[in-house]
């Protein structure tokens, strides 16, 4: 977008009803899914969101078949019910059988999604003019958001925030150490159901905008990105909410400026950009800085090895600054012209012609190098 376009666009967000509704809706949705997604990611239940959103599809179809209504509230109520049923079946399978949770998730996901698709094709074959448009829940259609949808999203997000602040300590300890939480006398089942219910609610709210297929990315991407930047749970949840909201705002902007792009997938792609940038550029966990630190450490070690070698030679002389020929270092292959230059820059050695001599500072540093080595070995 050109500069002019951006200011025009921002003006449009505040004046155009549809654009304002969609922007607000996707921002709130991104914030609440980012927040709750942090919990899902830390519980290693990343796939739970995927299973829940797919499990919601038959609920939408059945709600339509029973009521014949097509307003989002009725259909999403159906989605909520079948999403919850799917979730409790997953829990049931894990506790009652000895299948692992990834198997249970995959099973419920494909079973419910298959059934949902079956119902959708059945509905489409019916001679009812009203049936068109149910398939928008597959990939979402943000353009259908109306003000009341945004209000519902805002209310659910508010309640979710309140509950999270209230039970913050309980959520945190359950996420970290469930067995220990039990021994302290907390009802872990209650905390678990509380978290899961909110995750289901957030997913159902997002179906209209992002759709069944891509919904889990809204849960995971902001949380995965946020984890890279912080070592505090509170900051992580906060950042995930911000990343989610920004994905919503930017995703809407990009899709609005390019007429044919559907909003849901663009939002998910923007969220993925946050993930990629975070994976690369995070100072403590990012790939880039990890590599830079690795190279730095390797270079430092090389310098220290050269210095240590010089120290051993100088040690045998009364005068530690006695000059030696550079050739003597040929026995030790770890030096280069540039590493000698670096040692000189640091004031460890002095180079005159093809002779080097250790400075007092260099001698001291080298002997400390050894002491430190010994200390960390202990």
């Amino acid at each position: 977008m050109e500069f002019m376009d951006i200011t025009e666009y921002i003006q449009l967000v505040f004046t155009d009803y549809t654009l304002r509704t969609i922007t607000l809706g996707t921002a709130i949705l991104g914030a609440v899914t980012g927040m709750l997604g942090s919990f899902a990611v830390l519980r290693k239940q990343s796939l739970l969101g995927d299973a829940i959103s797919h499990a919601a599809l038959p609920g939408i179809a059945i709600a339509f078949l029973i009521t014949g209504a097509k307003d989002s509230n009725t259909l999403l109520l159906g989605a909520l019910v079948s999403g919850l049923i799917g979730t409790f079946w997953i829990r049931g399978i894990v506790t009652k059988t000895h299948l692992k949770s990834d198997t249970a998730l995959g099973l419920i996901l494909s079973l419910f999604f298959g059934f949902g698709m079956l119902l959708l094709t059945f509905i489409q074959k019916q001679p009812n003019a009203n049936q068109a448009g149910l398939d928008k829940y597959l990939f979402g259609q943000a353009a259908t958001l109306v003000e009341s949808d945004v209000w519902i999203m805002a209310i659910v997000t508010g309640v979710c925030l309140l509950v999270m602040l209230l039970f913050w300590k309980e959520f945190k300890i359950l996420l970290f150490d469930e067995d220990y939480t039990k021994t302290l006398g907390f009802n872990t089942k209650f905390i678990d159901i509380l978290i899961t219910t909110f995750i289901v609610l957030a997913i159902v709210l997002g179906l209209q905008t992002v759709g069944v297929v891509l919904m889990s990315a809204m849960l995971l991407a902001p949380a995965a990105a946020a984890r890279q930047w912080t070592n505090s749970l509170g900051v992580m949840v906060f950042l995930a909410a911000i990343f989610g909201a920004l994905s919503g705002v930017f995703g809407t902007a990009i899709s609005a400026s390019q007429n044919n792009l559907s909003t849901g997938p663009v939002i998910v792609l923007v969220a993925s950009v946050f993930v990629v940038v975070s994976f690369i550029f995070s100072p403590s966990r990012g790939i880039l800085f990890k590599h830079i630190r690795f190279v730095q450490n390797r270079n430092d070690l090389q310098l220290h090895k050269t210095l240590a070698f010089m120290y051993h030679i100088a040690e045998t002389h009364e005068d530690i600054s006695h000059p030696h020929t550079i050739k003597i270092l040929n026995n030790f292959r770890g030096y280069t012209r540039s590493s000698l230059k670096k040692l000189e820059d640091k004031g460890y050695i002095i180079i005159k012609g093809n002779m080097w001599s250790l400075t007092d500072h260099g001698f001291e540093t080298a002997s400390n190098l050894y002491n430190q080595q010994h200390r960390t070995d202990e």
Binding site: L42, E170, I173, F176, R227, T230, N231, L233
Partner: protein, 244 residues
């Protein structure tokens, strides 16, 4: 020995029809430092977990000082195996130790200055005060174990259950931990430890329980820690020389 701190009656636990613990009766007197020993798969961790209500037994009951465990929770602290949690969780050492205060706080109430002070004291006791702000993934295995121990110390309980606290820690941490356990016993607390290293049993503990699905024997180390019980428990002709 005076009072009975922990009493287990007819405890039976099964995974998938296969009994893991079979009809365990156990009385642990107050003030002992007890090791639970037995081969892999003997049900040592399972015993602790079912006493603490983490696992549901098929049958049996547990009482703490004569009352059901549910009513006596504040008297009991648990140190899980350090491998049972994800240490990449975004939190600090101090924060983990603070979790030990959550039980007495109850629902919703947040830890305050008093709880923070207690947590700092516990960190000091395990020699980890300097690491209070450290992200937990950057702690060594021994340091993580000390953090778990500190978290239990904060609970200020009467009975401590510990699941392999010496697993994967170096010699200096092992000594530090056993010194803390001995000082707990000196203070009249009861400490129950799942333990693997038979060599150190006579040196560290005064009470021992041999377990292999069934309870083989329980009592003072000097009376029952002998080749006979070891052979019964481990199924091979086990010889240890116990210093007289």
């Amino acid at each position: 020995m005076s009072k009975i701190a922990v009493k287990v009656d007819d405890l039976t636990v099964a995974y998938n029809y296969k009994p893991v613990l079979w009809d365990i009766d156990l009385e642990i007197p107050e003030g002992v430092l007890m090791a639970i020993v037995g081969p892999n798969g003997a049900g040592k961790s399972t015993l602790i977990k079912s006493i603490l209500g983490i696992l549901k037994p098929i049958a049996g009951s547990v009482s703490i000082y004569g009352k059901p465990y549910d009513k006596q929770r504040p008297l009991v602290a648990y140190v899980p195996q350090k491998g049972s949690v994800d240490w990449d969780f975004p939190t600090t050492a101090l924060d983990v130790v603070m979790m030990g205060t959550y039980g007495s706080l109850g629902w919703i109430k947040r830890p305050g200055q008093k709880e923070k002070k207690a947590a700092l004291e516990a960190l000091e006791k395990v020699g980890m005060l300097a690491f209070k702000g450290r992200q937990i993934s950057q702690l060594s295995g021994g340091q993580q174990q000390r953090i778990f121990l500190a978290r239990a110390l904060v609970q200020n309980a009467s009975i401590y259950f510990m699941d392999e606290p010496f697993q994967g820690v170096d010699a200096s941490t092992e000594i530090a931990i056993i010194n803390i356990l001995k000082s707990l016993r000196k203070a009249g607390k009861t400490v129950i430890v799942v333990h693997h290293d038979l060599q150190t049993v006579p040196e560290y503990f005064d009470w021992v329980t041999f377990l292999n699905v069934k309870k083989i024997a329980t009592g003072p180390v000097r009376d029952i820690f002998n080749d006979d019980n070891l052979t019964k428990t481990y199924g091979i002709n086990y010889k240890v020389s116990i210093q007289e």
